[in-house]
């Protein structure tokens, strides 16, 4: 049967509809799929129905697939990410993150120099400053310290409200290694975050800081588990 013939258009439309809906049995389904590969008219009829029905799928509540799915895809395709796990778990290893951090650095540090300067004035002799920005590029937190201090001052400039049962956790992002927690920080006011050693040495190989959303008691795994809300490079004024 030649479904592409004009006088078959009604039958074609009906088959295409049931194909898109999914009710065509196996053999007619396979035949129609085969016809669609060679007959543009058939492919177009199916496409129209897929488009019509697609609006119905929008409301299905999203379900994040397990990380192993991405790992398997990347490994089957021989992608660079294959050895490093999932897209969400390895965000700190992705070049995109660092590119974004660089862009945010320009946006945040250059674009808001005045905020930065006034902040530096408020923390005399601050020699290390990091402006942590959200996805919109607006500074949310400013971290500063003197070289000899063994703590960071983290001031919340404009953080989004944190839902109850959740907390913000601050992370150092070492080059080529997993993030290291600096503990929980407050979403408002100024937090004094202790460091294991004076900033000079404890932040020596740390190009950037990030803040993720975690359970109220902090990440249960020692690595970020929630979304990264803010991040930014560390600027050294020495």
């Amino acid at each position: 049967m030649d479904l592409a013939r004009p006088d078959r258009s009604e039958r074609l439309d009906r088959l295409a509809a049931e194909f898109a809906l999914g009710t065509l049995p196996s053999r007619p389904r396979a035949r129609l799929a085969q016809a669609a590969r060679t007959e543009p008219v058939v492919a177009a009829a199916i496409g129209e129905w897929e488009q019509r029905l697609a609006a119905l799928a929008i409301a299905i509540p999203a379900v994040t697939p397990p990380p192993r799915v991405w790992t398997a895809i990347a490994s089957r395709l021989g992608l660079a990410a294959a050895s490093t796990g999932t897209a969400s778990a390895i965000w700190w290893n992705r070049v995109g993150v660092w590119r974004a951090l660089t862009l945010l650095a320009f946006a945040a540090v250059l674009g808001l120099g005045i905020a930065l300067l006034s902040q530096r004035a408020a923390v005399p002799e601050a020699s290390i400053v990091a402006v942590l920005a959200g996805a919109d590029g607006k500074p949310a937190l400013i971290a500063s310290a003197r070289r000899t201090d063994a703590f960071l001052l983290v001031k919340a400039v404009s953080t989004a409200p944190v839902e109850s049962g959740k907390a913000l956790e601050l992370w150092m992002l070492p080059t080529g290694a997993a993030p290291r927690s600096l503990g929980l920080i407050r979403a408002t006011g100024i937090a004094r975050v202790p460091l294991p050693a004076p900033t000079d040495s404890s932040l020596a190989n740390i190009p950037a800081l990030a803040v993720s959303l975690e359970p109220a008691t902090g990440s249960p795994t020692g690595l970020p588990t929630g979304p990264v809300l803010y991040s930014g490079p560390i600027e050294r004024m020495y």
């Binding site: 009906r14 049995p25 609006a55 299905i60 509540p61 895809i73």
Partner: protein, 197 residues
């Protein structure tokens, strides 16, 4: 369809697909991040088995990586294109399994192969909620109860005519005619409202 957030998202996905066609791995990872929760949900709902849904999702993204170049933005929305790839693979999987499992003589007497998850919205609710545009909602509302439920179960759970007959306890002929009439009516109504081109 006209809301600007949706249009922005479509634009972003179309750009990502274009970069994937050029073998941009970062764009592919981003595309996966943005679309896999929706596509996995679609697959889970139809296949009702996480292991099969994961397998189909894998195959679908491998295919997307290899065939992103065939996506033509003018012809469909990116998410529609991706959803269709996943839905079609799920349906192929289900229909193939039927062929393997059921003898050709099997009728509507088989045990129901359908067990709706208790905690998720019923398919008819999804039908109405998913139809964002008022015109789509109106069109769905014009369907009679039987056709509406048959189309919802087929669309969201991948039920075949025979499974619909078993599940809805109606003769196969009634089911077939409900589905056909329901789809015709939906088309007339949607096209009349200027929906989907």
């Amino acid at each position: 369809m006209a809301n600007s957030a949706g249009a922005d998202r479509s634009g972003t996905l179309a750009q990502l697909l274009a970069r994937v066609a050029l073998a941009d791995q970062r764009a592919f990872a981003e595309l996966y991040r943005q679309t896999s929760p929706h596509l996995y949900a679609v697959a889970l709902r139809i296949l009702r088995e996480p292991a099969s849904a994961e397998e189909i999702l894998q195959e679908a993204y491998v295919s997307v990586w290899q065939h992103a170049g065939t996506y033509v933005a003018a012809k469909s929305q990116p998410l529609t294109w991706l959803t269709s790839i996943v839905r079609n693979r799920c349906l192929d999987h289900l229909r193939r399994r039927e062929l393997d499992t059921f003898p050709l003589t099997s009728g509507a007497d088989d045990e129901p192969a359908f067990d709706p998850p208790a905690d998720s919205p019923a398919p008819v609710d999804l039908l109405v909620a998913g139809a964002e545009a008022q015109s789509v909602r109106d069109c769905v509302e014009t369907l009679d109860a039987g056709p509406k439920q048959a189309i919802a179960l087929a669309f969201f759970h991948g039920l075949s005519h025979a499974e619909l007959a078993t599940h809805m306890r109606e003769p196969l002929g009634t089911i077939k005619s409900w589905v056909r009439r329901g789809l015709e009516r939906l088309k007339r109504c949607l096209d009349g409202a200027g929906f989907a081109r």
